[in-house]
């Protein structure tokens, strides 16, 4: 149920994101989802890819500061209200979402939401109990 996300430190300099994308492309790393959080000087690039361990090694070899962060991915219906329900459930149980981002898949006709919460184990239990679909790492990597 736990997915490994790459967190990459990126300086706000011209072409830096393109450089990182190139490094990954050369090694056939496929990006599933991404989000960038930034300030004026630097940002953190968060990526879900098909092979996070390999991507981390490659990026480190290229002098990037990289961390692997454990996140959850839920599958929701791609329609109004699809997101509201699972988020409300977490909130009702006192689980804070630190950040999240989403992508849609035409193939599955669903949306996928990547969630970073403080306590993965507790969140998994609550979501499963409420009937929310959690996506396995294999499903994401093989997508």
């Amino acid at each position: 149920m736990i997915i490994k996300q790459l967190s990459i430190f990126v300086e706000n300099t011209k072409g830096r994101l393109a450089d990182i994308a190139d490094i990954l492309a050369k090694e056939n790393i496929d990006i599933r989802a991404l989000c960038v959080a930034d300030t004026k000087d630097f940002g953190i690039l968060r990526l879900i890819v098909n092979d996070p361990e390999k991507a981390a090694i490659i990026l480190r070899e290229n002098h990037c500061t990289v961390a692997l962060t454990e996140v959850l991915t839920i599958k929701i219906e791609d329609k109004p209200g699809g997101l509201a329900k699972p988020i409300r459930i977490l909130s009702d149980h006192g689980i804070n979402v630190e950040y999240m981002y989403a992508f849609v898949s035409k193939e599955f006709d669903s949306a996928f939401v990547i969630l970073r919460v403080e306590n993965n184990e507790a969140a998994i239990k609550i979501l499963l109990d409420a009937g929310v679909t959690l996506v396995s790492s294999k499903e994401i990597y093989d997508m």
Partner: protein
């Protein structure tokens, strides 16, 4: 261990008597052989027989780097070229280089002085020493080279550059001691790890570092990078090159070769003598040099002197690690800032790397200081807040030490420039574009 025990442990009274005798002789020698000094001493009404005590030194006008430059190339030489056996020159980053000449006796004295500090640091004839200073006009490489040969060590004159090859030789030749700048040693250890060498298996045990300052914190980093005992030595080409002073095994100050170099500490503005233990500019008189003797040479280096006996048994005065240069000192919003202070703060924060860059700008009528550091701790990437807190911590610690607010920029690892010679970490843009 000592190289010249009798001299190095001479009691202070005898040492001072020897210095006084040599001081009188060198003043007479300068008067007789160097027109520049003939004129200077005549104007100041100083003659050798007027010097009764070491403190009479204060009546001699100081010599500056500009004096040497104005006499470019050979104007201050005291011997005819026929008697000179070597010429060296400083890097001369601004204008003409400062040129120095050595007689055969000078080279002998020089290698003795270097041999002393190498032995004091712990080098022996068993050591295999890699010299990673650039050979050439620069005095660092050849100075250490001859001193180390004199004690019987095996010298590998690699010179600077080609870091991968440097690391290969460190490993393949079983090098036990390294001569370089501390920052280059740090860089070499990074490259060694990157190239997959097992640094723990290196035979390196001793670092003889010089040519740039090294704070105790930086030294700890270098010692972690390579498992060695790092020692600092000091000198400058005008005085002789390396060999002016160096640390013993106790690393509690750098022992001056006081029988050859007579130190004073003065206020850089008023030139008045400082009390023992007070920080000021180091002024040095060469007591035995023949080729280009210098009277009261202003080094511009800021340090202090400690005359108390050292545990190692040496009686020669110890100087502190150089705290900065009186002309390198950054004045930011009226506050005196030494790069070494900033380095001490940065090296004590484990989440960032040991390399850094300082950028000073003028925005409106105010100076700003930007400190660029490399983020090495990837565990902070989970939360944005952690990175912002790190920036705040660095800025806060700098503020505590410097008293000014600095902007801290986090950079990617290995993105800041590495230096093979003297590290140039300050970029002052305040006069740019004017």
């Amino acid at each position: 261990m000592f190289f010249q025990k009798e001299i190095e442990t001479m009691n202070r009274k005898d040492l001072e008597a020897l210095q006084l005798e040599r001081l009188k002789r060198i003043v007479q020698y300068c008067y007789d052989n160097v027109p520049f000094y003939h004129q200077r001493l005549t104007e100041a009404k100083v003659t050798a027989d007027k010097i009764k005590t070491l403190s009479d030194l204060q009546y001699i006008p100081p010599t500056t780097k500009a004096d040497i430059r104005d006499s470019y190339p050979f104007g201050l030489f005291a011997r005819p070229m026929k008697e000179m056996v070597r010429i060296h020159a400083s890097s001369g980053t601004t204008g003409k280089p400062t040129v120095v000449g050595y007689t055969r006796n000078d080279l002998n004295m020089w290698s003795d002085a270097v041999a002393r500090l190498c032995v004091a640091a712990g080098a022996t004839d068993e050591d295999i020493v890699q010299i990673s200073f650039g050979y050439g006009l620069f005095t660092g490489a050849l100075g250490l080279h001859y001193g180390l040969e004199k004690i019987g060590a095996t010298v590998i004159p690699v010179s600077s550059g080609n870091t991968e090859k440097q690391v290969m030789l460190l490993n393949d030749f079983g090098v036990t001691a390294l001569v370089s700048t501390p920052s280059y040693a740090l860089y070499m250890s990074e490259v060694a790890r990157e190239k997959g060498y097992d640094v723990d298996k290196f035979k390196l045990r001793l670092g003889l570092f010089g040519s740039e300052g090294c704070t105790p914190e930086m030294r700890t980093q270098v010692e972690k990078g390579f498992h060695l005992f790092a020692t600092d030595n000091y000198g400058m080409s005008e005085l002789i090159g390396p060999g002016v002073s160096g640390e013993c095994e106790y690393r509690d100050g750098l022992h001056f070769a006081e029988d050859h170099f007579l130190p004073e500490i003065v206020d850089p503005n008023t030139l008045e003598h400082k009390q023992e233990g007070e920080i000021g500019e180091l002024i040095v008189t060469t007591l035995t040099k023949e080729g280009i003797p210098l009277l009261r040479y202003r080094t511009k280096d800021l340090t202090r002197l400690n005359y108390s006996p050292c545990k190692c048994g040496r009686t020669h005065v110890r100087m502190d690690k150089v705290m900065g240069r009186s002309d390198d000192m950054l004045k930011i919003r009226g506050v005196n800032v030494f790069p070494s202070q900033i380095e001490s703060v940065l090296v004590s924060i484990p989440q960032i790397g040991a390399h850094y860059q300082l950028i000073v700008r003028r925005e409106g009528f105010s100076d700003t200081l930007e400190v660029k550091v490399e983020l090495v701790d990837s565990s902070l990437l989970d939360k944005f807040e952690a990175l912002e807190n790190l920036q705040k911590t660095v800025a806060g610690n700098l503020r505590t030490v410097l008293g000014i607010q600095a902007k801290v920029t986090l950079c990617e690892p290995k993105s800041l420039e590495r230096f093979q010679g003297k590290a140039q970490r300050i970029v002052d843009l305040r006069n740019a574009g004017k």
